[in-house]
């Protein structure tokens, strides 16, 4: 039974696309058939983060409008053959997403794949509404700061009222993914604590992804961070999140500030 996941946040720039790519790749690494769908029509980025931008021929809008068949628009990942991407159109806008068209595409993807990951655009208008409409599971990506938390809260409200599941009287399974968590700033109290975020949003925690240069590096080379360097802290955090998504119990570790030997020596000398 295929699962449709929406990766959403309300606020922009919190790491939806990066997380979609990383989680999609981590799911695919265990052999499941996975597709990541870019719903950010007009501002597509998932193709870049996945390193597929040079192979885009048809896109989601072409499929919705009947100009192309779904299999023509799907791009197979070069590293994992069971991972595909359905890119968004860069030349159109969100109005091109029709309810019927999206419903048809999602239904078709459900037949072909085990996991359908929808990368939602920011905001609360048509784009995000379309991306979340068919979701069984929502991954709410939040940075530990107040505006991101409040926007996520708004999105959770919409997930509980505007999705197909909500309209049927069911619930969308919701998970919180805290990204760009900076242990140093958390230690100084410059950032919301994870427990504060959890208290406000009151949905189960899927994972805490530490702020890291590795994420940026992976994006720049067009490889999901979980594939680029699986041993780095953010890659491991994403892998743990995916195991929790599958229902495994993995102990949650709040990233701590790690000092290098030089920093420790330096710190001691100053003290």
């Amino acid at each position: 039974m295929a699962k449709v996941i929406v990766v959403t946040s309300g606020k922009g720039g919190v790491g939806k696309t990066t997380s979609t790519a990383a989680i999609g790749a981590a799911l695919a690494q265990s052999g499941d058939k996975v597709v990541v769908v870019d719903f950010d029509v007009g501002l597509r980025n998932l193709d870049l983060v996945m390193g597929a931008e040079r192979r885009v021929v048809f896109d989601l809008i072409n499929v919705i409008q009947g100009d192309a068949k779904l299999h023509q628009a799907l791009i197979r990942d070069k590293r994992l053959e069971n991972l595909s991407i359905l890119p968004a159109s860069q030349t159109r806008d969100k109005d091109a997403l029709t309810s019927d068209g999206v419903a048809k595409v999602i239904a078709e993807l459900r037949e072909k794949f085990d996991w359908v990951l929808c990368d939602s655009p920011a905001g609360i208008e048509r784009g995000p509404a379309m991306a979340m409409h068919h979701a069984d599971i929502a991954i709410v990506v939040t940075n530990p700061e107040v505006s991101s938390v409040r926007d996520s809260d708004r999105i959770i409200g919409l997930l509980d009222s505007k999705t197909e599941r909500a309209m049927r009287g069911e619930r969308v399974e919701k998970h919180l993914l805290v990204t760009r968590y900076d242990p140093a700033r958390a230690a100084r109290g410059d950032m919301l604590k994870v427990e504060d975020v959890l208290e406000i949003l009151s949905i189960p925690l899927l994972g805490i992804i530490p702020e890291s240069q590795e994420v940026l590096k992976a994006s720049n080379v067009g490889v999901p961070v979980t594939l680029n360097n699986p041993e780095t802290a953010p890659a491991r955090a994403y892998q743990d999140a995916v195991r929790r998504l599958r229902g495994e119990t993995v102990p949650m570790v709040i990233p701590q500030e790690r000092k290098t030997l030089v920093e420790r020596l330096f710190g001691r000398r100053v003290a």
Binding site: I124, R150, D151, D153, R154, I156, G157, L158, D160, S161, E199, I200, S202
Partner: protein
């Protein structure tokens, strides 16, 4: 519809003229209720004391008089509207009185979940009870009191339709704004002593009062 006729002195001539008009147009007054206006007459006018009976003798049914002033005999003058036949006396048996319905409790609204940012709960009819928290950017508007079992981070507007006795209770006060009967207080004006406490909010002499729950 009732006609108003205004007799003018001398009354003998006026009555003759009225009778003449009735022979020209028989049935004109049939069944019509007539009001007699005495405004043109004075107590001394000749024939004024018998005027009403004279008019009735012509077959006109007078139901009322106007502007009678000091004129004797015209007051009281209340006649039945139609016919004036004596009515049968009907004894009305006391009806089986249905047992009064037990008073209905005022309906309250219970919200079982969190109220998320951007959501509004509007319930002008009565109290609102929220079992979860009310997020920053969310809003509860109640005609009666508001009870929040989680944290109040958004806005709570109680007694919104002019009910000053409404109150607000919350397990933890982090509100952006609270209001009772149109009087409001923003987070900025709240005393730091009550922030984060289980709070009880009411209105006293046009001022929002906030105290920790005992």
């Amino acid at each position: 519809m009732a006609f108003v006729i205004t007799p003018e002195p001398p009354l003998a001539a006026w009555l003759i003229a009225l009778k003449a008009q009735m022979t020209r147009a028989p049935g004109f007054f049939d069944g019509r209720p007539v009001i007699v206006d005495f405004s043109q007459l004075s107590p001394g006018s000749e024939g004024v004391s018998t005027l009403l009976t004279d008019i009735e003798a012509l077959g006109i049914s007078v139901i009322d008089v106007e502007n009678i002033g000091e004129i004797p005999g015209a007051d009281p003058w209340k006649r039945p509207l139609v016919g004036g036949r004596p009515g049968a006396v009907v004894e009305i048996k006391p009806r089986e009185v249905a047992k009064p319905e037990p008073p209905q409790p005022m309906p309250g609204l219970i919200v079982e979940d969190h109220v998320r940012s951007g959501q509004s709960v509007l319930f002008p009819k009565g109290d609102v009870t929220v079992l979860g928290s009310v997020s920053s950017g969310a809003e509860i508007l109640a005609g009666g009191s508001i009870h929040i079992y989680g944290t109040l981070r958004g806005r709570a507007l109680a007694g919104a339709q002019g009910f000053g006795r409404a109150r607000i209770f919350c397990r933890k006060l982090e509100a952006e704004l609270v209001s009772i009967d149109g009087f409001y207080q923003t987070a900025e004006d709240m005393s730091p002593d009550v922030r984060g406490t289980a709070a009880h909010i009411w209105l006293a002499a046009g001022r929002i009062m906030i105290a920790p729950q005992k």
